[in-house]
């Protein structure tokens, strides 16, 4: 199967500090890739370079074979690359359904049709379907800010999947979520992958969560990939243990 995301020789330097040092990998359609690594290993910088928030010093990023390096985040998103942030980022004063409609509205029609067309941009049904899928069906009309933290986290993820993206990048989805909610979130992410073939990349600290969710894992240390493989392989790899515990 062809690669959805190809990263080739990506590097990012801040002055003299090398944050990402020539990283290459691809993500195949329908795959869940995990990226782990100790603090300061360059995970977030890598993410930001892929997503156009930072300009890489070298290397390129391709989506479905198309070079997207340096593209604005909104254009990248409309090409089908979606994301969540480390900290929760929803729009608290909009309703839950409105949050989802917002996440989908820019992906269809023209600027003019968004002014003159339907209020919900024809997305109410799709939004309700996403709500159902993420177990938020009863909450569509609530203010998003009134939801519990775990529910907001689910909404945040649902927004990333709303427009039917080719690829979703999840930045520490498990951060700050309690154990029960965590199981729910993992279950929903697995389901959206199994049932709809969604492809995504997860950066995470929580090893259990990554091991249970991902098909394949990359281990990053000091800006380089030091190991990769399926969860069992990575767990056994001595270099990984060293990177986390060593020095």
């Amino acid at each position: 199967m062809s690669a959805v995301l190809e990263v080739h020789g990506l590097a990012k330097r801040f002055g003299g500090i090398v944050a990402v040092d020539g990283v290459s990998f691809d993500v195949r359609a329908g795959e869940i890739l995990g990226i782990i690594g100790p603090n300061g290993s360059g995970k977030s910088t890598l993410f930001n370079c892929i997503l156009g928030q930072l300009k890489p010093t070298a290397g390129d990023v391709r989506i479905d074979g198309r070079a997207v390096t340096g593209m604005r985040p909104c254009d990248l998103n409309r090409l089908g690359v979606s994301r969540t942030f480390q900290l929760l980022q929803i729009f608290p004063q909009l309703s839950v359904r409105e949050n989802l409609i917002l996440a989908g509205q820019e992906h269809q029609g023209t600027l003019l049709s968004r002014l003159l067309g339907r209020r919900d941009a024809g997305l109410s049904q799709r939004a309700d379907e996403m709500l159902g899928f993420f177990r938020l069906a009863e909450l569509g009309d609530e203010r998003a800010g009134g939801l519990s933290y775990g529910q907001q986290k689910l909404l945040d993820a649902a927004m990333a999947f709303m427009a039917g993206p080719r690829l979703v990048l999840l930045d520490e989805p498990a951060g700050g979520v309690n154990l029960t909610m965590l199981a729910g979130l993992r279950d929903r992410l697995k389901a959206i992958n199994a049932e709809r073939g969604a492809t995504f990349v997860v950066i995470e600290h929580n090893m259990e969560f990554v091991m249970a969710l991902c098909h394949r894992i990359l281990v990053l240390a000091e800006g380089r990939i030091i190991a990769q493989g399926d969860p069992a392989e990575v767990r056994r790899d001595p270099r990984v243990v060293e990177a986390y515990l060593g020095q």
Partner: protein, 318 residues
């Protein structure tokens, strides 16, 4: 229940606005017309500031440009509507251009750029005598006819302004409930997240500026025939500050904020004329006090009180 109450309140206000010209003297009718015109300008600023979150002190310049375009054309034999359309389009275009600084700088820097713009435009009004008549201004600005009906009498022109206010209100109501309105709020609240959801924040920011400016131009196009004589002084920085206060005092980001703000800033001073300079002082104290208790303005305050009452009600009867 709440909807019914709102509908009754709206109907009462509409009845008052329609009946008022028969009860008021011509000057009172003129002031009501001024309220309608300033409301339109404030609605425009509320789009820029309240919905899209960009602070602008340029609204006086747009009202001025709209007024001068209309005054110049109509006193040179052109029909009113040509001035009206040109005013709106010119302000939309200039507003779009003025929005570019907003993409580079935010908050107080943007306030200063727009402040400088307003003052520059004012200098042009005052000094380019060949075009604007300089400090002598432009007088004998005619009022239009609609379908053969002359809008010359004060009462007729008041209804003309009121009709514009209604149309602008309906259009704005539509706009803020459309996907555009949702995108404006997203850009104001969290531009980074909006961008990651495919919202072109640059384009929506420029649109918010341009639409706000265009409404300022429409307000100006009505202002000129309303007062029938314009000179540069009303379009100085003071008007920009005043419009900003209207939006904020009424409740920025609330649909009805600008109307209420214009009542406080345009109608009340006239009705409380007997208080002389004390009115403005009281107004200033109100602004300072209001910002301390409710930065969301009068409507924000009302909103909070209503909510607090509703939240307290079940506790009162355990």
């Amino acid at each position: 229940m709440r909807r019914l109450l709102a509908a009754v309140a709206l109907a009462l206000i509409a009845a008052f606005l329609l009946a008022a010209p028969f009860a008021f003297k011509p000057y009172g009718v003129f002031i009501l017309g001024m309220w309608a015109v300033m409301s339109i300008a404030a609605i425009g600023l509320n789009l820029t500031l309240g919905y899209a979150g960009q602070i602008s002190l340029a609204q006086a310049a747009f009202v001025g440009i709209g007024a001068y375009v209309t005054a110049y054309l109509t006193t040179h034999g052109w029909p009113f509507w040509s001035g009206y359309v040109l005013a709106a389009l010119a302000c939309f275009a200039i507003g779009w251009l003025l929005g570019y600084p907003a993409l580079r700088v935010q908050h107080h820097y943007l306030a200063f750029v727009t402040l400088a713009f307003t003052t520059l435009v004012y200098l042009v009004f005052r000094n380019e005598e060949w075009l604007t008549g300089g400090i002598y201004g432009i007088s004998n600005i005619p009022r239009p006819s609609v379908l053969g009906l002359s809008m010359e009498p004060p009462r007729a022109f008041y209804y003309f302004c009121l009709a514009h206010l209604v149309l602008v209100s309906l259009a704005t109501w539509w706009l803020i409930r459309s996907p555009w309105g949702r995108a404006f709020v997203a850009v104001r609240e969290n531009p980074l997240r909006a961008l990651s959801l495919g919202v072109d924040t640059r384009r929506y920011t420029l649109l918010a500026f341009a639409l706000g400016a265009g409404l300022g131009g429409i307000a100006g196009a009505l202002y000129a025939p309303l007062v029938q004589y314009i000179d540069p002084s009303p379009f100085a920085l003071g008007l920009s500050l005043n419009l900003l206060l209207m939006v904020v005092v009424g409740g920025s980001g609330y649909f009805f904020g600008p109307y209420l703000g214009a009542v406080v800033a345009v109608l009340l001073p006239e009705w409380l004329r007997f208080t002389q300079g004390y009115y403005l002082m009281a107004y200033a104290v109100l602004v300072v006090f209001l910002m301390a208790v409710s930065p969301a303005g009068l409507l924000g305050l009302a909103d909070r009180l209503l909510r607090a009452r509703r939240a307290a009600a079940p506790r009162a009867t355990p």
